[in-house]
């Protein structure tokens, strides 16, 4: 589904990704772990098409298409989704208009007719139950006045509504208490299938108790330095990132 080869990117002349190789197949969950500043969020931003980053080399193919050649909205329509680490508050844009417009654009791209108002509300209700987002979204602006936990659930709600092929969760666990974390993880587990895939970016192993990855990668100074099974996450949790530093730099 996603094939990344030697991807390099910089921001403000600072090289952050120094050659990433990664392949994710349908039905898989990959986790990327790494210390602060290793480039985890940059990778997520670059894949989603954030214009703040400059690609300096390498390639990324998504379902055979050159991802780096597509605008952010085209990537989304092709089935890529980024759950933001810091979801943006947009005063004045209603949640309903936002979700409706996004769904409509993606359905149009798939050649599907727009949902009726009734169908939309039914779908929304069902998906809100899935992520246990009880707050009414009607008459509220996107993420405005939402608690940290509500914002993260709102990201997963959008994920559930838009049904992407590949979802990147960028530190979705940060700032979540254990109950919210369980809810978010349960939502993701219900959404996973043989047809889709997840890339879970996290600093801590805790989330991976609930969303069990098929592969864990360790990102360090802009490169994936180690890949392995879910046990790698446990190992990392136990030994911390210092161990890695010694191994990589020393080796």
């Amino acid at each position: 589904m996603l094939k990344i080869k030697n991807l390099q990117a910089k921001v403000d002349d600072k090289e952050i990704l120094k050659g990433i190789d990664l392949e994710i197949k349908a039905g898989e969950i990959h986790a990327i772990m790494g210390p602060n500043g290793s480039g985890k969020s940059t990778l997520a931003s670059v894949l989603a098409g954030n214009p703040g980053f400059e690609i300096t080399g390498g390639e990324a193919l998504f379902e055979g298409k050159d991802l780096l050649d597509l605008a952010p909205e085209e990537r989304a329509r092709e089935g890529l989704f980024l759950a933001f680490q810091y979801p943006v508050e947009i005063p004045g844009v209603s949640n309903m208009t936002f979700l409706k417009t996004a769904l409509e654009e993606i359905r149009t791209h798939k050649g599907l007719p727009p949902l009726s108002a009734k169908e939309f509300m039914q779908l929304l209700k069902q998906k809100q139950e899935l992520v246990e987002l009880k707050t009414s979204l009607v008459n509220r602006s996107v993420n405005e006045g939402f608690s940290g936990g509500e914002k993260k659930r709102n990201e997963i709600l959008q994920l559930a509504m838009l049904e992407p092929k590949l979802a990147i969760l960028d530190e979705t666990d940060s700032g979540l208490d254990i109950d919210a974390l369980r809810v978010v993880a349960a939502g993701v587990n219900k959404l996973r299938s043989e047809q889709n895939a997840f890339l879970v970016i996290t600093h801590y192993q805790r989330l991976l108790d609930y969303i069990v990855p098929d592969v864990v990668h360790i990102l360090f100074e802009g490169r994936i330095v180690k890949s392995g099974s879910k046990d790698l996450a446990l190992q990392l949790e136990e030994k911390g990132y210092d161990w890695l530093r010694e191994e990589v730099v020393g080796g």
Binding site: P51, F84, G92, E105
Partner: protein
């Protein structure tokens, strides 16, 4: 010699005053004719204001006075004002090139009268009020209007009357031959304990080539409530210089929204509220969305003269292409106006490198126990929000539109009439459709 503009339009106006204009006005009483003569002196001395006049620093009238506008007797026009607001239940009054089109106007509800020029000037109490709310001693454009206005209308809401149906005054400008200057005015009297709504919309047919000089004087008597809305939806053939002077008395409420959402080439609004009584409430909303080479200038004055009054002013603007916005908001708090609460906010978004906004808040506070705040911002579209929307599959253009609509929503959402709100949204969306927001 004053530092005004004394060009050929000015010359021809000066010449026509005694030759053509005064003979036409022979039916007017002496008091009014004396007012016209005094005003004419002011205008002839000062000329059209130039950018050397501090009040016109950012707005160059020379630009629109490049072509010669002439003052001609208003011809009866057969143009039809098709403009109506879907779903709005209102009494329509239609002015075409400043002239009341009676056959296109509705019958007014009881408790309210609307008079055209002849009837209004026949009543000395109205002609005496004329020019006494908006005093033109030193204001050349106001003086020009007083000297030269052809038509004068009065909207008079009687005491204790609650008029639930809004009055919709449609200002339509249509093809008038050569470029015309059209001076006309309105007097609104809201008597004690009355409540009413006046909606004014401006339209043009695209071939008008008009410089309209419109003066509205508004008196809001004790405990009266008056809601007014000014919505400009005209085409680029309209140049409008509007002066509104409002006087508010004790415990009265005045709300206005002033929205420039059309394509008029040039708009200058002078909007002055004199709060002459205590415990008054004044809410002024404004928005201006400009593109091409449009120029929209809002000058406002909120003048707190007595204690315990509240005023709130919120103006938001979006400038595209090479358009130019001006906001100048003055707040006076006079010595007697203790416990004043005055709030002013002006926020702007520039969508192009060539667009300009001059935003200037001015506070002059002479009382010592007051709460005043003001703020002015100029910015761009929030790139983070834009990216967020795009990552959900929303196109750049649509995302930009959503963010622009959101930006002015806190102005437009305060319009209390739902049909009007929808009309405003339609105008806004049509406006945003005319421009390629992506390349902006």
């Amino acid at each position: 010699m004053e530092q005004g503009i004394f060009n050929s339009t000015y010359q021809s106006l000066i010449e026509s005053f005694e030759k053509d204009h005064l003979p036409e006005r022979s039916f007017e009483d002496e008091t009014l004719l004396a007012k016209r003569a005094a005003a004419f002196q002011v205008f002839s001395r000062k000329g059209f204001p130039s950018i050397k006049d501090e009040e016109w620093r950012f707005t160059n009238l020379n630009r629109i006075l490049k072509q010669d506008f002439s003052l001609r007797p208003p011809s009866i026009s057969f143009a039809k004002a098709e403009e109506s607001i879907a779903g709005l239940d209102a009494c329509r009054l239609v002015l075409i090139n400043g002239v009341l089109a009676i056959e296109q106007s509705d019958v007014l509800p009881e408790g309210l009268i609307f008079l055209d020029t002849q009837a209004a000037l026949a009543n000395p109490s109205y002609s005496q009020l004329l020019g006494s709310i908006a005093v033109d001693d030193n204001n050349a454009m106001l003086a020009f209007n007083t000297a030269f206005f052809k038509n004068f209308y009065v909207l008079h809401v009687k005491a204790k009357k609650l008029i639930e149906k809004p009055i919709h005054l449609i200002h339509k400008f249509s093809e008038a031959g050569s470029p015309s200057i059209i001076p006309y005015r309105l007097l609104v009297i809201a008597e004690e304990l009355s409540e009413s709504t006046l909606i004014e919309t401006f339209h043009s047919d695209g071939q008008a080539s008009v410089l309209a000089s419109y003066v509205s004087e508004v008196q809001v008597a004790q405990s009266a409530v008056l809601h007014t809305h000014l919505i400009n939806a005209a085409a680029e053939d309209l140049n409008l210089i509007h002066h509104r002077e409002v006087e508010q008395f004790k415990t009265s409420v005045y709300n206005n929204s002033n929205l420039a959402l059309g394509n008029a080439a040039f708009i200058r609004n002078n909007f002055n509220c004199r709060l002459k009584g205590s415990v008054t409430e004044t809410n002024l909303l404004g928005s201006y969305i400009t593109n091409g080479t449009q120029h929209v200038d809002n000058h406002t004055v909120v003048d707190h003269q007595m204690p315990n009054s509240n005023s709130m002013e919120l103006y938001k603007g979006i400038m595209m292409d090479r358009s130019h916005g001006v906001f100048n908001g003055k707040i006076f708090v006079r010595l007697d106006a203790q416990k004043t609460n005055a709030f002013q906010q002006n926020n702007n978004i520039l969508l192009s490198d060539q667009a300009t906004i001059n935003s200037k808040p001015q506070l002059e506070i002479f009382a010592d126990d007051v709460k005043c705040s003001h703020g002015s911002t100029v910015g761009q579209i929030d790139e983070q929000a834009l990216f967020y929307l795009k990552t959900r599959g929303i196109s750049e253009e649509r995302a930009r539109k959503m963010l622009i609509e959101a930006f002015v929503l806190d102005v437009h959402s305060r319009i209390p009439i739902k049909a009007l709100q929808e009309y405003v949204l339609q105008l806004l969306q049509a406006k945003l459709d005319t421009d390629s927001l992506v390349t902006a």
